[in-house]
Assembly symmetry: C2
């Protein structure tokens, strides 16, 4: 498999952590597209240091967000164990969006306005079946209208996220209201026509634009 990387020198490891913390903070408020120069300056290191440690932006994103993404996957797993499928769905969406509300960067990653990393792709592969099962059960239990699909919940996710992005700076809680609207919507809308298939979800979260 992959070679075990030799451990970093003490000072190098300290710098690595410093860069990660700094990058995380900057991305929490400014989104994923913070320049390496800004991160290095804020961390007080040179450009060379961040490039040596994270040659590809991908490497930085993975290091920054993989555990958060695992957390979200964990939420989906927890939700899938709910007896009440609708309760599971709403609980999961709300938790996931709360996490995204903490960090603009993480939100962008999970909703992939920008770079869809392998990390995120795997996360969606794991979560989609879980959500699909919940949707299925909710439909059978009469909690959702016939024709509701997992793609509708991807849409809810993206929709609420867009409100979050547009209002984060001035009305941080507004996304909860949007979530109430969107969730009430999937329950009450007529979703019988032309259901989007599951492939739509992938494309949805991989908007290369």
């Amino acid at each position: 498999m992959t070679e075990a990387a030799p451990p970093l020198r003490r000072d190098a490891e300290r710098n690595r952590q410093l860069l990660l913390r700094t990058a995380y903070d900057l991305m929490a408020t400014q989104g994923l597209d913070v320049s390496y120069e800004d991160i290095a300056r804020a961390a007080g290191t040179g450009m060379g240091t961040i490039y040596r440690r994270f040659p590809q932006r991908q490497d930085l994103l993975d290091a920054l967000f993989s555990e958060h993404i695992d957390t979200v996957i964990g939420l989906a797993e927890q939700a899938s164990h709910y007896d009440d499928a609708w309760a599971g769905l709403t609980w999961f969406l709300e938790r996931q969006l709360e996490i995204e509300a903490q960090s603009r960067g993480l939100g962008e990653l999970l909703r992939s306005r920008n770079q869809a990393t392998a990390l995120v792709q795997r996360a969606h592969e794991r979560m989609t079946p879980l959500v699909a099962d919940l949707v299925d059960r909710a439909v059978r239990a009469g909690q959702l209208p016939d024709g509701a699909t997992p793609a509708d919940f991807a849409a809810v996710h993206v929709m609420v996220g867009s409100v979050m992005d547009a209002s984060r700076a001035h009305t941080p809680g507004l996304w909860r209201r949007a979530l109430r609207i969107a969730l009430a919507g999937v329950r009450h809308a007529d979703l019988s026509g032309d259901q989007p298939d599951e492939a739509v979800i992938d494309r949805f979260y991989n908007d290369q634009t």
Copy 2:
């Protein structure tokens, strides 16, 4: 007031039209951030020509989109004359989004993911009171729950737009389903808590990020 600009020479006017058509087409598929170089190349002119005619990007956007924006304002006015307020609201949103579906650039402008021009600002100033009146009437008629606000419709607009952006390339009609969801949502959600005031709308559409 402003001096009447002398009319352009025939060939210059031809070039101007050519640039406008080219820019419109490019922005319809790629969004507002097309480079001047791309536009000039596609139109077959030099860089200097586009800069001479539209020194600020603002000038180009105004020339490109002002009539479309007037069209949308006209839709809001028509809608405001509906006796059935709910029918007016849904008709307006659907028409507006159909127009945005034709052109990614126009959608970005109307939802101001990017530059909020004076043009768009004025448009919102004109449309907001009209929508507010419709929402008011719909609430009084029992077509919308107490607590529904104009800002909720701004949210619906942005939400459906985000689905449109994420799916335009592969599932062009998906936004209609999202619109059904969002509209069913505002009718059925509990909107009694902490209403966003109207100032939220402006900020919403002026996301400076």
